[in-house]
């Protein structure tokens, strides 16, 4: 039977009429209009809804609202301090972690919880994060977490330093016939691709900017 449930969400006191077994996810989304936590599976597997209950990680899709009575719920919407992003959110922006972005509210809340439990997580700790990212941005997720924790990300023996775009890139533009296409601009000679390589760069840019954000 519906009854009143009182708890706080992102610092605001809320009161909802809901069946005791109603998962917190649907209370948040359908009764409170808080849509940061996403539905992805409904059974706690994909963890796209990951949020915090009294600072601990939960999957609201499998937590009945009755378990939240009198407790503090934090969703992705409550993580930033006004316009000031939480350091984990900032790290995510700097490392450009998100692709489609759908799983990222859950990924961020899981990472915050992990870093609270363990300030220097190991690769095994990061491997144990179960949150699905179907876009497959796992290397950036791992890099962002390590960066926040101050763990070097460049593996030993891989000494090629990150480079920006190479100097003197060849010009690009429309082809000799006036149409855009795969036509080189220099010398009009496309019979050899020898001259086309103007540099190589390693994808060290994943981590650009994170250092400056976290000192």
């Amino acid at each position: 039977m519906p009854k009143k449930h009182r708890f706080s969400v992102n610092g605001d006191k809320v009161e909802v009429d809901a069946d005791a077994n109603m998962p917190l996810l649907w209370v948040l989304r359908d009764k409170l209009g808080i849509t940061g936590p996403k539905y992805g599976c409904g059974v706690g597997l994909c963890r796209a809804c990951t949020s915090h209950l009294n600072g601990n990680e939960i999957q609201p899709c499998v937590v009945p609202v009755s378990e939240c009575d009198g407790q503090e719920v934090t969703t992705i919407e409550g993580l930033a301090d006004g316009d000031e992003l939480h350091p984990v959110q900032q790290a995510w922006v700097d490392a450009d972690v998100g692709q489609c972005g759908f799983c990222q509210p859950g990924q961020i809340m899981a990472a915050v919880a992990l870093l609270q439990r363990k300030s220097k997580p190991t690769d095994a700790d990061i491997d144990a994060i179960e949150n699905m990212c179907r876009c497959g941005t796992y290397p950036r997720l791992r890099a962002a977490i390590k960066e926040i924790a101050g763990i070097p990300t460049d593996p030993p023996g891989n000494g090629e330093p990150p480079k920006g775009p190479p100097e003197g890139k060849p010009p690009n533009g429309k082809g000799p016939d006036g149409r855009p296409g795969k036509q080189p601009q220099q010398g009009g000679d496309s019979s050899s691709a020898e001259g086309e390589q103007s540099g190589d760069e390693k994808s060290g840019s994943l981590f650009d900017g994170i250092k400056s954000a976290f000192g």
Binding site: P2, V43, R134, P139, N172, K182, E201
Partner: protein, 727 residues
């Protein structure tokens, strides 16, 4: 200026497109060897392979040509508050096109990136084929029109300032969304916007040497929305009165409703309406919790679907039975025959298929959904509702992943039907279980390859691809077939095969065909479409050929790669991956290479398969040449994601069919890569070239799939033939 000679090795680069499109239209079949069949094959045959259709005019060229007539209808606006607004007639699925387009606009307009606002366009039927998001074509197709549009806008803003100041336009400069005079005076684009409307002016796009935005690493323009939870997907929209709706679906694929007893469900809390639709019984309620509970209380007797007696083994047998026989003669040299099977694969995007629909009594309707083919979706929904197309608006929402899944309007049709029936707006969501058990899938395939070789050279490469029919009955299919003067036998699927499949090596006579079996199983294009299986199988055979010929597999590829860009990415990936180093037992490196979309990618992975049932790719290296890079970060992200897809589809993620039903139900049994399955070291190395942008979103999947399969084979001493390996 003289036309350059076409590059023999670099496909499509420098070729005269119109001429070859004509050739394509006239081609009666898809094969590359229409005139040069195996009858020409002797041991003295020349090893260089003839160009394939794909090398001459690929999918991207077809889409580009089909899109060109409506490019002038795209909308770029500079508002009085200095916002550069562009309506992008494509779908953002995470591939980063919104950011890349914003970068191109910022570059050519000399606008601040923060001032550029790229929004997804509603469906616009007048754009015809220019609102399809598929085949890694978006940047290839839009790059040039968008930069020209922006250059024109910049010229008009400069002319407006020149008039206002009485100065020659040549003396003025543009920077940070403003025009600057030599004396220090400045007018913002917002201040000039009204006057610029009256100006004319044709701007020339910048030479790449002047780029300060394009080609650099830029974080997504929506990154802040993503990390704060503000990014809105269809189910996050607050559409007044939209009722959460779920559908009770049959136990087997395409089963139908027999009879329904909804007495108990109707009396449950929050329930507003229960509606029978062709795909099941929809429950609309105050919350999704209410809707799901009532759905579970429905008593439905189901009728069987079309394949209720069919399981995986039957499908495999059927594919095997209809497969064309291998035709290449067994020469006095040697030959290598290999047969591969690929399981169905669910796209499984994180955002389940969802749509909001509001079908009103006045005969108009609005639908909000992520659609790769918005115009087609609009027409399909209108037809379903019995309305004129113009009475239906489709608002394109950002997608929580796609991988091909948003090509169809399945869920939009369901939402529209329910809304029309109950006279209320609804937000219809497929549950994850719905998505797994009734969602579209990459078809299962049976593929046979015969390669003949002698004296260290490959003489022929024959590939017979047999698959469950791939459904092209969406806008892309129309675009493909309508560009043909006459219908290619086999329709859009054959056409897509022809314009996407190509052997990137000189391996003598190449002959590949596609044969499809229509089983009534819901299918849909999956990231990299045919190449995800076809090229993966070919990459496995390339390794086995190298072994037979006593060559290093990477060196062998480099020898026979058609394109110099292909040789270059292979060289680079060898260098950065430590190719050739000794590995402990159960560990190995594997290589794969793929060329498509006028781009090239080589991949080397390192695998730990000491437990063959539980292997892990520990490192992955990609070297890629995609021509002009637009957003380095976005490009790396796409190569990264497609690598994870290669790992998943080769090692662990596949769907089983048991008596007409999908066995898997969620991420607990459909084993996509998670963090614990992903490499702890991942590197992208870009080789920068000045070709116009090639496609990049799907490029790495076939290369990675090949690399993973080959690494596994080497680590375990096995010959993988059935994928995913641990199914």
């Amino acid at each position: 200026m003289a036309e350059p000679e076409p590059a023999a090795q670099d496909k499509g680069r420098g070729l005269k497109r119109r001429k070859f499109l004509t050739f394509l239209v006239a081609a009666p079949t898809l094969t590359v060897a229409g005139r040069f069949g195996f009858d020409a094959l002797t041991e003295a045959s020349a090893v260089p392979s003839l160009p394939s259709v794909e090398e001459i005019a690929d999918l991207g060229e077809v889409i580009r040509l089909a899109s060109m007539p409506t490019m002038h209808l795209m909308v770029l606006e500079v508002t009085e508050d200095t916002t550069v607004r562009f309506e992008l007639p494509r779908l953002e699925v995470g591939q980063g096109i919104s950011t890349s387009i914003a970068m191109v606009l910022a570059e050519e307009l000399d606008a601040r990136l923060d001032d550029v606002d790229v929004e997804l366009s509603d469906s616009r039927p007048e754009l015809h084929f220019n609102q399809i998001t598929a085949g890694s074509t978006t940047m290839r197709v839009l790059w040039d029109p968008v930069r020209r549009m922006a250059a024109d806008a910049r010229a008009r803003l400069v002319n407006a300032a020149a008039n206002q100041w009485g100065l020659p336009a040549e003396q003025l400069t543009t920077k940070d969304s403003a025009v600057h005079a030599p004396d220090g005076r400045t007018l913002s684009y917002g201040e000039l916007s009204a006057a610029a409307r009256e100006e004319s002016g044709n701007g020339e796009p910048k030479p790449a040497s002047e780029y300060t935005v394009v080609g650099t690493p830029v974080a997504r323009t929506d990154a802040r929305d993503i990390v704060t939870g503000k990014a809105q997907y269809a189910m996050d929209l607050q559409i007044e009165g939209a009722l959460p709706t779920v559908v009770a679906r049959p136990p087997t694929i395409k089963g139908t409703v027999g009879s329904v007893n909804d007495a108990r469900a109707r009396s449950m809390p929050g329930v507003v309406a229960i509606t029978e639709i062709p795909t099941g019984v929809a429950v609309s309620a105050e919350t999704f919790y209410d809707a799901m509970r009532a759905r579970d209380a429905l008593e439905i007797s189901w009728k069987p679907g079309p394949i209720d007696t069919v399981s995986d083994s039957d499908i495999r047998k059927k594919l095997k039975n209809v497969a064309h026989p291998l035709a290449a003669p067994k020469l006095r040299g040697r030959h290598l025959d290999a047969t591969f099977d690929f399981a169905f694969v669910n796209h499984a995007p994180m955002e389940v298929e969802s749509a909001v629909a509001d079908v009103r009594h006045d005969g108009t309707a609005e639908v909000w959904m992520p659609s790769q083919t918005a115009i087609w979706a609009q027409g399909a929904i209108a037809k379903e509702l019995g309305l004129n197309r113009d009475a239906v608006s489709v608002h394109v929402t950002r997608a929580g992943g796609s991988f091909g899944r948003r090509l169809f309007a399945d869920v939009g049709l369901e939402a529209a039907r329910v809304s029309q029936a109950i006279g209320r707006p609804v937000k219809l969501m497929r549950t994850r279980q719905d998505d797994m058990k009734h969602g579209r899938m990459r078809p299962a395939y049976h593929q046979k390859i015969r390669a003949s070789y002698t004296k260290g050279e490959v003489l022929s490469f024959e590939h017979r691809v047999t698959g469950v029919g791939l459904d092209f009955d969406h806008g892309l299919g129309e675009a493909l077939t309508s560009t043909l003067a006459q219908t290619v036998e086999g329709g859009a699927s054959q056409y897509y095969f022809a314009v996407s499949q190509s052997m990137p090596y000189h391996v003598g006579v190449v002959n590949h065909t596609l044969q499809e079996v229509q089983l009534g199983i819901p299918t849909g294009s999956f990231r990299s479409v045919f190449s995800g299986t076809v090229r993966a199988a070919e990459e496995v055979v390339m390794d086995e050929l190298a072994e037979q010929m006593g060559k290093d597999p990477l060196e062998f590829r480099r020898e026979v790669a058609k394109a110099d860009s292909g040789k270059a990415v292979l060289t680079k990936v060898a260098e950065v991956s430590g190719w050739g180093k000794d590995m402990p037992a159960g560990h190995a490196l594997g290589v794969g290479y793929h060329s498509e979309y006028r781009s090239h990618a080589a991949c080397v992975v390192e695998i730990n398969a000491t437990d063959p049932a539980n292997p892990r790719v520990t490192k992955a290296f990609i070297a890629a040449d995609v021509g002009q890079v637009i957003n380095q970060k976005g490009l790396e992200a796409q190569l990264m994601g497609a690598t994870m897809d290669g790992i998943a589809t080769v090692l662990q993620a596949g769907v089983h069919i048991d008596n007409g039903a999908v066995r898997e139900s969620s991420y607990g049994d459909f084993l996509w890569t998670k963090q614990g399955d992903s490499p702890t070291q991942f590197e992208v190395h870009l080789i920068r070239t000045d070709w116009a942008p090639g496609g990049a979103g799907e490029l790495a999947l076939p290369a990675a799939a090949g690399a993973v399969a080959n690494a596994y084979a080497k680590a375990t001493g096995t010959k993988p033939r059935s994928f995913p390996i641990n199914h």
